[in-house]
Amino acid sequence: MCLAIPGKVVETFEKSGMQMARVQFGGITREVCLEYVPETETGDYVLVHVGFAISRVDEAEAERTYQALRDLDQLTELESPVVDELEPGGYR
């Protein structure tokens, strides 16, 4: 769990005053916090660890690293359940 996973930023937005993005990893898209790489734009590739982008990478590096992580079975964190924002008592 110490490795970050590269993905492509497909949308950026603001939420509760935080810079956020939707980032695509292979066939999975997850919500990612961009506060630590604030200059990131849609179309960029970022290295993401537990929901936080920690650096930007180029497309070639992103592609290669993603394949390498897949071969090492290091993509399981992406399959963690999605937690939606719901009213009190709404999530169980």
Partner: protein
């Protein structure tokens, strides 16, 4: 797939290994620090590719592995409470404490949830105002920015039913502990790439200078690791000891400054106990006093829990590079990933679990995956020459 070849190509691997053979004059022991590197080395049989006398030993860089049993037992005691929703990264759920694991607690009715991001805990806390949402904040420096942001946002947004059970560890003090050990064998380190993507690598300079040991920050792909080994050997053979960066396509000397800034606002350095190793001074983070109300250890009265590790387990010596999994009589027999007895077997990134996953409990060479990075025609001669 088009970009894959350059970093996994058998010819490139053979050229780097030939370079090692050209410069090597004596045996050397190197340690890879990161658990992801260990996994890659064992999976790809990289240790078997190296020239005779160049030995890789496996370091303490698996955060799940080194989280102390006392902290896991504390987590379990909290997770069993009716008024708690206990949140964790998925890797921690199978780690056995003194009495079962988080999956067991979940199956017995405990509200245990896997989260992807620590920020998910804020959503869960807002949706469940009558519950205390506790997040198991473990990890190395790579994970610290994410965990720090949970505490920061909880305070900013006044989400006061969320707290963190913090068991954060830091790489540099662990390297010092390894080098200070009287039975240390390590002469050079492959530094952890993604940890340094956050922290940079200037904090390794004093360690390299003080112990006269080369530290080469390295990626985790097979060619990265071979290249890191070659750079370390070159320093050793030249009698140099500096910090070098093999992984410059990902990280620079400074690291991620906004992340470091928030870590510094939320956490402070403290002594931490490491599973298998024991207490290491100034080797972890705890929440600063300003965040005391978000510290699960302040909220829940979980007294110091006495725990015992099985006597037979040698994970402490494995984590410090003194022994290998094969030196343990329990490896692959009494101790397996299904029934782990100690730190290095509890997560896939631990040395024992990686050896087991790739068949090294069946034969020391293991089910070598070399053919995956090198076509048979180029892989075979390298392998033969190296022995």
């Amino acid at each position: 797939m088009k970009y894959l070849d350059e970093y996994r190509d058998g010819d490139v691997a053979a050229r780097i290994v030939a370079g090692m053979r050209r410069i090597q004059t004596r045996p050397w022991v190197l340690m890879e620090v990161c658990g992801g590197q260990t996994h890659s080395i064992v999976k790809n049989g990289i240790d078997h590719l190296l020239p005779q006398g160049v030995e890789l030993v496996h370091g303490p860089g698996c955060p799940v592995c080194v989280t102390p049993l006392e902290m896991i037992d504390k987590a379990h005691a909290i997770a069993r409470r009716q008024d708690v929703i206990f949140c964790s990264f998925g890797d921690m759920l199978r780690v056995p404490g003194s009495d079962g694991d988080l999956f067991t607690i979940k199956s017995q009715g405990g509200d245990v949830r896997i989260v992807y991001s620590p920020l998910d805990c804020l959503k869960i806390a807002r949706a469940n105002p009558d519950k205390q949402v506790v997040f198991f904040a473990i990890g190395f420096e790579t994970t610290a920015p994410a965990n720090a942001m949970l505490a920061w946002r909880a305070r900013e947004e006044q989400v006061n039913n969320v707290s963190l059970l913090v068991s954060h560890v830091l790489v540099p003090p662990a390297l010092v502990a390894i080098l200070q050990s009287p039975d240390n064998r390590v002469q050079g380190f492959l530094g952890p790439g993604h940890v340094c993507a956050v922290m940079g690598y200037s904090e390794y300079d004093p360690i390299s200078a003080r112990f006269h040991v080369p530290i080469v920050v390295t990626g985790f792909e097979p060619i990265d690791i071979l290249h890191g080994v070659l750079m370390t050997l070159q320093q050793l053979e030249d009698g140099r000891a500096t910090v070098e960066n093999q992984y410059s396509r990902i990280l620079d000397r400074a690291g991620n400054l906004p992340a470091q800034k928030l870590i510094g606002k939320v956490f402070e350095v403290t002594d931490r106990k490491w599973r298998g190793i024991g207490s290491i001074p100034q080797s972890g983070y705890r929440l600063r006093a300003e965040f005391a109300r978000y510290d699960a250890e302040n909220i829940f009265d979980v007294a110091e829990i006495a725990t015992l590790e099985p006597e037979i387990c040698i994970s402490g010596e494995i984590l410090r590079g003194i022994k290998k999994p094969h030196d343990c009589p329990a490896f692959g027999t009494q101790c397996s990933p299904q029934h782990p007895m100690g730190a290095t077997m509890v997560s896939a990134e631990g040395a024992c679990a990686a050896y087991y996953a790739y068949g090294r409990h069946l034969s020391p060479q293991g089910i070598d995956m070399l053919h995956r990075i090198a076509p048979a025609s180029s892989a075979a001669p390298v392998h033969v020459e190296s022995r």
